[in-house]
Symmetry: C2
Subunit: 140 residues, 2 copies
DNA sequence: TTGCATATTTGAACTCATTACAAATTTATA
DNA sequence: TATAAATTTGTAATGAGTTCAAATATGCAA
């Protein structure tokens, strides 16, 4: 709670009730939620909050670099409150997004073929551990 | 032309005029176009074609594995008629998407942490070579 | 060739995530 | 306390993508 306030202050965002509530949700739920999911949960605690505020806040957080958008599903943006950079695995079966630690020297470079790299997005797509297990069970 | 027909027949798609025209556009333009861009160009050659046909065709091509969707910009899907798997660089300045050859042993694995990998999506984001040059010139 | 079933294409209506914007509210400052 | 600036809100609009039923084209049997 207190350190979330610090995080906002560090990037010069006034820790208003709405902004803190949204960040608090992201901090507690590392499930890469959509804007709608964030709204649906935060509105329970802050009944007056609007969807526009959720979108505005996320845009602000992204501009300040404390939230990363994930373009993985193609239909809506997922948001990641990421402390350390990491990568993702998207299960085509259940839709769940897993965090992955991928070690590769390429991801340490600042330039690639002359292009300045600001962000690196890596995600694998397939069937997750759990869904594979379920499928195997179905065969017995 | 003739080999595009073959490509379609190989994946059991009847080479109709519309499907061939769309694939032909993708083959000539490796600019990772949106569905709208594809429609706008193909309609010049096939005036009766509809947007729905473009979407239907792309969905069919994706199902058959000859076209890959790129979720990079967050606002719309880009389509890639990719022979060899490769990765991408997205310029935040000019919006251009470059093809990248990234060599990394991780991308050769079939499983990762128990998850079955079907597709690998890697894109870097930043400022491209050309836009960096323009910015440097602007300082003189 | 004709008739019929199937595959393909089309256009209009719709969904839904996201954005635009102006009014309302809150907060900071003098 | 007054006034300006920042923040929040709700409504309307945008625009990519989907749904669906009608229209058209194609393949095939008789």
């Amino acid at each position: 709670m207190q350190n979330l306030k610090k995080i906002l202050e560090n990037v010069e965002i006034k820790p208003t009730y709405e902004w803190l509530s949204i960040l608090q949700y992201l901090d507690k739920n590392h499930n890469h939620p959509t804007a709608a999911m964030i709204f649906d949960e935060v509105v329970k605690k802050v009944p007056t909050i609007s969807k526009t505020t959720v979108y505005n806040s996320l845009k602000l957080f992204m501009k300040k670099g404390i939230v990363t958008p994930l373009y993985i599903t193609g239909s809506e943006v997922r948001y990641d409150f990421a402390q350390k950079p990491h990568h993702h695995f998207f299960c085509e079966e259940c839709g769940k997004i897993y965090d992955l630690e991928v070690e590769c020297p390429i991801f340490k470079q600042k330039y690639f073929h002359g292009h300045l790299i600001r962000q690196q997005h890596v995600y694998f797509r397939g069937i997750c551990k759990d869904c594979l297990k379920k499928e195997n069970k179905a065969h017995h």
